[in-house]
Symmetry: C3
Subunit: 170 residues, 3 copies
């Protein structure tokens, strides 16, 4: 398996500064910058989070919404670096829509390999707590772990965020 | 934002050796050593934990209790290094008392900047598991993450503990 | 405390690639390779996981089942490297059987020190999420943290897995 030279995976816990770090990596490159949002505003809590993220980004960012069609959204970008925020919400959406998660993951990696510019994938590490009581949560963290491994194996850079600071894993 | 040269943040999971590591860092310095405890003995489980920590420290330690007034406690120390154990319990106490957490965080950092000696802040990383079901737990891990980022941005040393061993983050 | 030159601890979250990494470390050494399984097939979910792990290993592996008698299983191996998968399930079994966890941990470390070949211990980090509601889960993560610290203090190599990639802790 060859690595994808322009692919970065930014993992971290809740409020560990993942998005901010990935935004800074992108803003160090020439625009246009594309933000691919996978969040869906189901409730007020989510609406607030989305608005906060949007407010932080300058007007130089283009925003694409891709709650499910993430690989297609990446393929639609013809120039400049891409920030995907985040894989965990995309995975949630795929599971709620009962889609084939493994196939979607392979398609995502292929879309990243074909991208014309750098791609930064932001995602939540969710597997370091006590085994969850409910089976769906256990399946979710298994699927997330598999997706992270598959992406990390092909990425040229993997970063684990701790308290807003990046630790280089690869 | 300038970094605070004598400020260290020691993060880690439950029973990852955070307190022990911070104690060792302090005991390598000349006394007097001040231990600022934020724990409140609400129940027997907590009383046992507090007693265990106390028993481990030698008689050379001074102990201050500061369940809420942590910045004031730090300011009251006139000489020697300070160990704060821990930020997560302080944050819990602030939230239970419905205080302004963001303002308290800024005050804490200011108190650390003004301290005459080294300050080691111990805290729990709680954001790497599955998203909690209950809204209060979600708010808690958001606030904890924000506090950790704010402190880590100013600290000159940040350590992530794994199985009792320090990984240098900064 | 002297370190045990042939002892490796591989920690990580759910689906972080711990077993796969430990297997690769062992398969780089000459056979015979012994896999010591601590899992008990209580339910279908666990049966599937055990079958997946078994299917991945080649026919060159010997398998020992040791849900409780892990130190004895290690002592019974007379040649070649040993993979123990995993300490967290062993700890679960010890706690369900109401055994002395601290004594069992000391016995495990002694058995590793006496082993004729390299020993790789795989384990789940479970202490980086929100404090669990239930007291048993809290006790479990405390015991797991203590066991990890005790083992890591004696191991010559400690690896923290992130997205299938090893971070060297020691």
């Amino acid at each position: 398996m060859t690595s994808i030279p322009h692919l970065t995976l930014v993992l971290g816990g809740a409020r560990s500064g993942k998005s901010r770090h990935a935004e800074a990596l992108i803003e160090a490159l020439p625009p246009p910058w594309t933000y691919v949002a996978t969040a869906q505003a189901w409730d007020d809590e989510m609406r607030v989070r989305i608005a906060e993220h949007r407010a932080r980004r300058s007007g130089d960012w283009l925003t694409l919404d891709a709650p499910l069609q993430l690989p297609a959204a990446i393929r639609s970008v013809t120039a400049g670096p891409i920030l995907v925020d985040c894989l965990t919400l995309w995975l949630t959406n795929l599971m709620l829509a009962e889609q084939d998660v493994a196939a979607a993951g392979r398609d995502l990696i292929e879309a990243c390999a074909q991208a014309s510019g750098p791609v930064m994938l932001v995602t939540n590490e969710v597997g370091l707590g006590i085994v969850p009581d409910n089976a769906l949560a256990r399946r979710f963290r298994d699927e997330a772990g598999r997706l992270h491994q598959a992406v990390a194996a092909r990425a040229c850079r993997v970063v684990f965020m701790v308290a807003g600071l990046p630790m280089q894993v690869k």
